[in-house]
């Protein structure tokens, strides 16, 4: 195990004291050290939001993209260099409002990328607007009389779209969160870890206390089998999405890049780019 500190770049995060995002940053660092990922082989990509700042606090390669597009960028990096461990991270607005389509398409594409949602059910950075994950009745400056739209349940939607690894976590359950992310990173295919991460400044409903009262820990449920799709779906419906741990994993499906490139092929970024004259001519001849 490498040192946790090795993954910290010593920049003080600009999050509010108590923000749930701190624990996720720490969890990521612990995961990296547990898996002994060389710093230069780790890539953290993030979107825009308070959450999006997370990539800037990792002593790894890191890319802070634009709002909602962490996944296209992360998938591009992975396709480019499959030898990197690629983590995408972003807020609930980032991934389920403006970026929803990318999230669902990344799920189907099943590249070996781990996506961590820093889910506070609100837009933190814009100073507290309703998110598509906010509950009905949630009041913010954009829904002063309460939100009227059904919240998206990330777990159920991901599962129904054929995800091969689904985990959930809670900022305050560090050990479980770390374990879940470790498994997600090890999973060969796309993995999503939805982390309940309270916004202490703007979300006065979904607080640490609230989550402690409502979350069910799946790893404490002996009968739970994350290989069982139907069980996973039922559990998500039963708990209204409020459960943590590894919810579902399908180890049978090969990841996209494995299907596109032979296992021993070199990463795209490391290939010899010269085209032999013969090769070129044989292509040209198809145009004659």
């Amino acid at each position: 195990m490498t040192n946790i500190k090795d993954y910290d770049n010593n920049i003080t995060p600009n999050w509010c004291p108590g923000c749930g995002h701190f624990s996720i940053q720490r969890a990521l660092q612990v995961v990296a050290s547990r898996l002994e990922i060389p710093n230069e082989k780790m890539m953290v990509v993030s979107g825009i939001g308070c959450s999006g700042r997370i990539s800037g606090y990792m002593n790894t390669y890191s890319f802070h993209g634009i709002h909602g597009r962490s996944l296209p960028i992360a998938q591009g990096i992975k396709a480019s260099n499959k030898d990197l461990t690629v983590i995408a991270a972003g807020g609930d607005g980032d991934g389920f409002a403006i970026g929803l389509s990318h999230t669902l398409h990344a799920i189907r594409r099943n590249m070996n990328v781990t996506y961590i949602v820093l889910n506070n059910q609100i837009y933190g950075l814009t100073k507290g607007h309703t998110s598509p994950l906010s509950e009905v009745g949630f009041q913010t400056k954009s829904t002063p009389t309460g939100s009227l739209e059904n919240p998206i349940r990330p777990g159920i939607v991901a599962l129904s779209n054929g995800i091969t690894f689904l985990g959930q976590g809670f900022s305050a359950y560090q050990e479980q969160l770390i374990d879940t992310i470790v498994k997600a990173v090890q999973h060969d295919g796309f993995s999503l870890v939805n982390v309940f991460s309270p916004c202490v400044t703007y979300n006065k409903i979904n607080t640490y206390q609230w989550f402690r009262e409502h979350l069910v820990k799946l790893d404490e449920d002996e009968g739970y089998n994350p290989q069982d799709y139907q069980m996973a779906m039922n559990k998500l419906i039963e708990t209204d999405g409020l459960c943590t741990g590894i919810i579902y994993q399908n180890e049978g499906t090969p990841s996209l890049l494995e299907q596109l490139q032979p296992k021993d092929a070199s990463a795209l970024s490391k290939m010899d780019l010269q085209l032999s004259k013969d090769h070129f001519n044989s292509i040209i001849n198809q145009y004659r």
Binding site: N9, I11, P38, N39, E40, K41, M43, V45, I48, S55, G56, N59, T60, Y61, S62, F63, H64, G65, I66, R69, P72, I73, A74, Q75, G76, I77, K78, A79, S80, N81, D83, L84, S101, H102, H105, R109, L257, L260, Q261, A265, S266, L268, S269, K270, M271, L273, Q274, L275, K277, F280, I283, I284, N285, Y287, R288
Partner: protein, 568 residues
Amino acid sequence: MNKSMSLLIGGIQGEGVISTGVSLMKALSSLGYYVYEKRDFSSRIKGGNSAITIHAGIEKKLWVEDQVKVIIALDDDTVKKYYHLLSSDGIIFYDAALTLDFQLPEKIKLIPLPITEIAKASGATLMKNTSAMGFISALLGITADNVTSAIKNKYKHKGEEIINKNITVLKNVFQYAQENLKEYQTLKLTPANKISRPLMMGNDAISLGALAAGCRFIASYPITPASEVMENLSKLLPKHGGVALQVEDEIAAVNMIIGASYGGTRSMTATSGPGLSLMMEGIGLAGMTETPIVIVDAQRSGPSTGLPTKHEQSDLIGLYFGGHGEYPSIILTPTSVEDCFYATMRAFNLAEEYQCPVFLLSDLSMSLSHQTIDELEPHRIQINRGKLYQPNTGQEEYKRYQLTEDDISPRALPGTAGGLHHTTGLEHNELGFPNDQPGNRRNMMDKRMKKTAPLQENEEIIIHSHQRDVLFLSFGSTYGVIKGAMEIAEEPLDYGYIQMIKPLPTQQLKRILEKYKHVVIVENNYSQQLATIIKSELGYHEKIHSLTKYDGTPFTLNEIITEMGGWI
């Protein structure tokens, strides 16, 4: 015998007219003729009329004549829509199976050919196209052998039986021609020098240019007239270890290639106007993070969905000035299919040398028109990957955005030990971390905006001079027809094209504007986009004149010649 010939083949869209035309052009190219094509098709899949005009000759030309000598009509509409294009000595050959129950001017010469009949007799109406191709070949003086090998090639994946049936059709056609079409010997082409040359359209050359430049990743979303770039690379890249992905939309496409390129792989996307508009935010991210990307924009008629199958050059100014905020980019405008190949190779070099988005601005005519091309030399342009950080050089702390003399900082690719850094679309300091101090902001803006300035001193305008004081200047496929007009004009003017519009080659342009009395800028758009750009940078309003066209069709020779009339 003719040194060149313009002919038009028309029929019901979706019934193989275009592919017949392409096969014919391939056959002609392999015999040493140069062909150039212009298409007229509608935005529907089947039905409606579609037509292809082909210019074939022993000299290279990048235009078709306004009038055609031969029309091959496989449906009634072709006759109705195009008879007025016939030259005074022209002939319409039509499928005898057509009824042609409408009036035409008397002078029009109409000759029926048993196109469907012969196909049917040999087994299937479907082979009508082979039959038509046979007739045209016979008329142009291409031997049965040569056509046969073209047809074999065309149907090589369809099995012996189909090939043989088609060969029978050809045999019967040539026999019929032998017996009945002697009087049209005058339509024959002068024999060519038998140098076999490839036939390609701009999108093909762009795909090959990308491959030759070392592009190994494309993420793209289908759109006319750019889809072929993705389609070609979907076949080619996997064979060269690369990856081609059709993704969910253009926003994903541009962001994915930003990721891939940041990751160290030469990467691209190809789109047209609507997709380009959607990419604007991502393009700005590439600009801000100094990530090299190559974007092909095959322009079509806008705005909005516009005329998706019609030609235009109207995305230029939006690309030149567009996007929120300010960032550098490079715009290349190739003028021929060969040029598409070299410009694409160059685009990948420029992207990595200058670490910014590079646009390869094509247009529908360029992207989709087949041309006989001269041999491509991939080694003419050496791959140059720009400044890359070399690990373990005992350097001090790596700074991704180090302020340097030429404003370009070495890139460290992820995976490189010692090159760890942060990248963000926020304003950042030399290390790459967010920084909002005014002094840092100024430095970073200056660095980014100035780094492409040396390119302004390039010679990017190629002029064909007749020592006149009027210059016709254009870009993209528009150049071909200007060249054509000047070549046939009695008093040709100077003419030229610009191959890189951003950064604008201001030094050279200034000299040109000083030298000429008048510069007429010819472009397919409404608002005189290239002229506006040049005026905004250099002035010379009184010297700069515009000839524009925005009806969805490229300029005709006659339009250029008429305009020339005003300047002679």
